[in-house]
């Protein structure tokens, strides 16, 4: 099977959706001339003139304007440049984007996709490295996705653009360059928002993650396998609405749960997973739930410090071994 990068996979998704639906367009900072600061929009401005729009540095307009455009009948893709900047248009996200359908009694639909490049990519420090996906599953009315590989990057983005509900699409900056197998056009499986995937089956412990956290999940599963511990690895893919059934079923089988994400551990999405398992599958647990995430600290600049707020597969391996 052909191998392409995560960034290329998102370009394919955009191109296919823009080809199919003329109301799909993208706007954000540095998209048209630069092709996105991470090159994730490369080629699209030439292929779709006038539909990849460079905005002023006006995050409230980018999001609020996107919501207005969606209400007017288009399918906007809006780009947040860095996920860190998402605090600027927060009202546009949680009071406008998320609420208009409900508060207007179903008259409105907001087929908008908000793309937000996130994560620590080396030296971005406190305001250009954050993983903020955990803020949004708290808000009814929007959906939240965070794919972990090129194939999902493509199919999840397509699903997000095609969705008549607003979708926040978190794409990890480190993952952009990573290659993975993606089937040829027409041979892919469409992705249904809200579905998790059991990426690797195992009987001893369930490791749940998403986005770049999956590297830790997979790495830990490999390390544990050497000692005969069979980890079941679940890629959540969608954080809201999240696939409780898949996680609960796995925990009922393995009786142990480990959650990992790059985002800060405290009040991170892992807390929601842990709480849900405690609520709905408590009696199936044979060990306390393990959670891994960044310490309660902004992302530092110096490489020696930045390393300290990261999670590594060995951390999971050690913790999981302690469950037995």
């Amino acid at each position: 099977m052909r191998k392409i990068t995560f960034a290329q996979a998102t370009q394919e998704a955009m191109a296919e959706e823009m080809e199919k639906d003329p109301t799909v367009f993208a706007m954000g900072e540095d998209l048209a001339r630069q092709g996105g600061i991470f090159g994730q929009f490369k080629g699209l401005p030439q292929q779709f003139p006038g539909r990849i729009i460079d905005t002023p540095i006006s995050e409230t307009f980018i999001i609020g304007g996107g919501v207005g455009a969606a209400l007017a009948g288009t399918r906007p893709v809006v780009d947040m440049h860095f996920a860190d900047f998402i605090g600027v248009p927060m009202d546009e996200i949680f009071n406008q984007m998320a609420k208009v359908r409900y508060m207007f009694g179903g008259q409105a639909k907001v087929p908008l996709c908000l793309r937000a490049p996130d994560g620590s990519a080396g030296g971005g420090a406190a305001q250009h490295s954050q993983c903020v996906e955990g803020w949004f599953p708290h808000i009814p009315g929007i959906k939240v996705v965070a794919p972990s590989n090129p194939y999902d990057a493509k199919m999840v983005l397509k699903a997000a653009i095609e969705s008549d509900d607003p979708v926040l699409y978190f794409e990890n900056k480190i993952l952009y360059k990573e290659k993975g197998e993606v089937p040829e056009l027409g041979e892919e499986e469409p992705y249904t928002l809200g579905k998790a995937r059991v990426e690797r089956e195992g009987k001893d412990v369930t490791i749940v993650s998403y986005s770049i956290g999956m590297k830790n999940a997979r790495g830990a599963a490999d390390l544990l396998a050497k000692d005969g511990i069979e980890a079941e690895v679940i890629d959540l893919i969608t954080l809201s609405p999240w696939d409780k059934e898949t996680v609960l079923n796995s925990v009922k089988k393995t009786h142990r749960l480990c959650i990992v994400h790059e985002a800060v551990k405290q009040s991170g999405f892992g807390a929601e997973i842990a709480a849900t398992v405690a609520e709905e599958a408590m009696e199936y647990l044979d060990a306390p739930i393990l959670r891994y995430g960044a310490p309660f600290c902004p992302i530092p600049f110096a490489p020696t410090l930045e390393k300290m707020v990261k999670v590594f597969p060995e951390d999971l391996e050690k913790g999981i071994k302690g469950m037995f």
């Binding site: 009786h255 009696e283 199936y284 060990a287 302690g322």
Partner: protein
């Protein structure tokens, strides 16, 4: 409405009890007055009667387990009646234990050694994962009997799954099997595996499971000692820290005592009474004590209590432990009475049937190691008494009498006395008086 079955408080000093045996199983009908269970305290075993007619709905404290006095250990009520679960009741029941005196609470506070269930403090919350609890419930196991191998001794699912895979086993037997490393599934037993079966398989006598465990097993994993041993340990430690003691040793010529016994024993035997030297010693010491009221006394908070009567304690080996029953008002009793009562007490003690009042209230104790060839030792005072007399072996010894060397049966008496009250002179005089009486038993008539 269901009625609680409580751990009884059998006497002032009892703080906790261990279920030795439930005489009924859950679901059985019991009548008021039936022996419901037997409980081992730190000193003895008592049968406890049911206080109600009804069905034994629930046994909360399994055989072999220990709980504080007054805690709920089971429920009696109408058939099918619902009762609160164990967890709901354990907490309030445990509260009085916390308020118990420090010495009594000490065994319960024993450090929780790593993994085995046997090291769980009595009545403690059983650490178990939710899944282990679910499995145990499904299989009908009592979680508190399952050894935990998880972190901090937590019972995890595999502990439950590997627990009692073989024949039906009594909880006590299962517990012992775990301690002694006996595979109950290999035992050739008709019906339920009982404690005795496990002990037999382990090749040890019922009296000494802890020693046997240590002998059988190569590893040095500590094992929980029985309540009697815990009590002895606590009492001896307490005494050691309480009484500044001096041991005075004095040889006594027991020629006269031997003659006395020889003259009396056959006559008494006809009355079914077996006379021993201990009985004579008890009579002699009781007489001496009436002359030394400060020795037949107890001391606490700078207050001296001189006892009106001599309640003569006699240390009796029981299994791997020691119990001190006492003969009340010994100074008033004849040698025959003393002999008769003492033998009865010893038998009751060794069979575990001794009554609480027989083992409390002693004012002085005699401990004899003579039969073991001991010629000198330093006994520890049985608190709150002030002195204890150690009796050694009788040895034919060359002694000088009237300028000539003669062979006489000599015996050392070792008096340990509490110097807070008994100074050297008093102690020596008291011991000297005992020796005079022994060497001149006719003085008992005075």
């Amino acid at each position: 409405m269901a009625t609680e079955v409580l751990m009884p408080k059998l006497g002032l000093t009892m703080t906790e009890g261990t279920i030795e045996e439930w005489k009924f199983k859950e679901g059985d009908t019991v009548k008021k007055g039936d022996i419901l269970f037997s409980v081992a305290t730190d000193k003895l075993t008592n049968d406890v009667e049911a206080e109600e007619d009804g069905v034994l709905l629930k046994i909360l404290l399994p055989e072999g387990e220990t709980a504080p006095c007054k805690s709920v250990i089971g429920w009696i009520g109408a058939a099918g009646e619902a009762v609160p679960d164990a967890a709901g009741d354990a907490a309030p029941a445990a509260a009085p234990a916390a308020a118990a005196p420090a010495a009594a609470a000490a065994p319960a506070a024993a450090p929780a050694a790593p993994t085995a269930h046997a090291d769980r403090p009595a009545g403690a919350y059983v650490l178990a994962t939710p899944y282990a609890k679910k499995l145990a419930k499904e299989k009908g196991y009592d979680l508190s009997l399952i050894p935990g191998t998880g972190p901090n001794g937590t019972v995890v699912a595999k502990d439950v799954e590997s627990f009692v895979a073989g024949p039906k086993t009594s909880p006590m037997a299962a517990k012992l099997a775990a301690e002694l490393g006996v595979d109950v599934s290999k035992l050739d037993v008709n019906g339920r595996v009982m404690k005795a079966d496990v002990l037999a398989a382990a090749g040890v006598g019922a009296a000494a499971p802890a020693e046997a465990a240590a002998a059988e097993s190569n590893d040095e994993k500590p094992v929980k000692v029985n309540p009697l041993r815990r009590s002895i340990a606590a009492n001896m430690t307490n005494s050691w820290h309480t009484s500044p003691r001096v041991t005075y040793t004095r040889p006594v010529d027991v020629t006269a005592m031997k003659e006395l016994r020889a003259k009396l024993k056959d006559g008494l035997k006809e009355q079914g009474i077996k006379l021993t030297y201990n009985h004579i010693l008890m009579k002699v010491v009781a007489k001496a004590l009436t002359e030394f009221p400060d020795v037949n006394a107890s001391f606490a908070d700078n207050m001296l209590t001189r006892h009106k009567h001599v309640n003569m304690g006699l240390a009796v080996a029981k299994g791997d432990g020691l119990i001190v029953p006492n003969v009340k008002n010994c100074e008033e009793k004849s040698l025959a009475q003393i002999a008769k009562e003492t033998e009865g007490l010893i038998e009751a003690t060794r069979s575990g049937k001794v009554q609480m009042e027989d083992i409390t209230g002693a004012t002085f104790t005699i401990s004899s190691l003579g039969p073991y060839g001991i010629t000198n030792f330093s006994p520890i005072i049985n608190q709150p008494e002030l002195a204890i007399l150690g009796v050694c072996d009788m040895v034919d010894t060359p002694v000088v009498r009237n300028g000539e060397i003669v062979i006489r049966p000599m015996m050392n008496l070792c008096l340990t006395a509490d110097h807070r009250v008994i100074d050297g002179v008093m102690g020596s005089k008291f011991l000297k008086r005992i020796c005079e009486l022994l060497e001149n038993p006719y003085m008992l008539l005075v």
